[in-house]
Symmetry: C2
Subunit: 271 residues, 2 copies
């Protein structure tokens, strides 16, 4: 079982930032990635629809005999909250690991959260934070344009459009004087430069995707499920829309050209 | 049959700009609108996926006994091109009516087209224009951020973000010295102020949605299918994601609060 793959899924392509972290932390692990690119984005949809899509994504990975599942999607993680949708194998979303880290490093007890509208609407970050430390103040701001900005190349320190939008979305968070900011969506690391700039030096950024990868690594180590092979792990990708379009855009998120086969999955075949 | 509804569909909510035009031109007509909000946007997806979704949308309307179908979605219209996917009843997309109008008004024979990536990639506007007038020059520019900008409230004359993005997307069109610009997506009328400003006074804008509504009106008149009832027509809306979210956002596109029931349709029930 230890050579079985780690299953990672996302509404689309953003979850590749989690794959990137995993490859750095656990280079020997095999990874199967599922991206629901025919129905992306999830973050602007209703809770009911998000749960339905997430269960289909999880079933797909289960059918591929993975040893662990990571929901590399901020929206899905948030809608699920503390409810693990899988019992037979380890599971993590990106919400709880980020919350644990943020609660550990905040000095003033004031944490900001930026995420998709669905995540902010659910109030899940606030609930999870207050379960750990009831007296922490949490300020949230929905950033619906961040995903399309990143997916269409509007990022990087000098991008004026991304900076203008980020200023607008971050203003209510800055006004609340937070000292820690959770990036609650796996697309946001690409805007990290700009966000760090606008928030200023006194604010620590916590990337939900990076924390999830660290948490997954800890779980696999603890349960002695790590792959003890000496070879570099492989990656396989499954998407519900065009594999070519996915492969073309993957580089933005991985930082290098995609290094594994990309297969097409028909959404009608999802259960 | 004349009191049967006109069926209008779109990937989401943008097609409501066509409903708005129809209500003005044909106030006595009943309208059934289908918006595939659980899978919006279509414009960034592959051709294969778009055709599959469009056929499901059309079948849904057919099952509601409509007397005509309008594809109020620039992406679908473009992928279909001159192929009418319905034979039994009249059908129009938004592409051909806009092309006819643009070919009629261009003075220098230089037409610009702005639309979603799928529409521009397909080259459908250029092909349709050259079928009518082979010597017309066509310049296209994909504007992938326009739909998310509009859907997230980034529009209106004073919106700095929308203006900055529009400047970037329109630059290659301006460089080609066009005298007519087709707005090839039903979301774009909300950015018309800004686009008109940037293009300058010498350029005529042709809104694909408005032309489609005029064309539909002409077809129904010619075939004597107009509703001869004296009462104001009704509207019924069907969406695949949350009806509440749809009703909330509809006002942006209609210019007034939604005036009909909004029903939820399960995407698994689509054929």
């Amino acid at each position: 079982m230890n050579s079985d793959a780690i299953g990672v899924f996302d509404s689309g392509i953003g979850g590749l930032t989690v794959v990137k972290e995993l490859k750095e932390l656990l280079p020997n692990e095999n990874i199967i990635y599922f991206g629901d690119t025919a129905r992306v984005p999830y973050g602007t949809r209703s809770k009911e629809t998000i749960i339905k899509y997430a269960n289909q994504d999880i079933n797909f990975l289960k059918n591929h005999k993975v040893k662990m599942i990571i929901a590399a999607c901020g929206t899905v993680s948030s809608v699920l909250g503390a409810n693990a949708p899988v019992k037979e194998i380890p599971f993590t979303g990106v919400l709880l690991p980020a919350v644990q880290t943020a609660c550990g490093i905040t000095r003033k007890g004031r944490i900001g959260v930026i995420a998709t509208p669905a995540t902010i609407r659910s109030g899940s970050y606030g609930r999870a934070i207050r379960t750990i430390k009831p007296d922490i103040f949490v300020a949230g701001s929905a950033c619906p344009l961040f995903v399309p900005l990143v997916e269409n190349g509007f990022f990087g320190k000098d991008n004026e459009v991304a900076r203008l939008v980020a200023k607008q979305y971050l203003a209510p968070i800055i006004a609340e004087n937070v000292d820690t900011l959770i990036l609650g969506c796996t697309h946001y690391p690409l805007l990290e430069d700009i966000i760090a700039d606008i928030m200023g030096e006194g604010v620590s950024l916590v990337s939900a995707g990076k924390e999830a990868a660290k948490h997954a690594s800890a779980i696999l180590t603890e349960r002695e499920l790590l792959n003890d092979g000496k070879e570099k792990g492989t990656c396989e990708f499954y998407v519900t829309d065009s594999p070519e379009m996915f492969a073309e855009n993957a580089k933005i998120f991985l930082g290098y050209p995609i290094d594994g086969e990309v297969h097409k999955v028909d959404i009608d075949a999802l259960q």
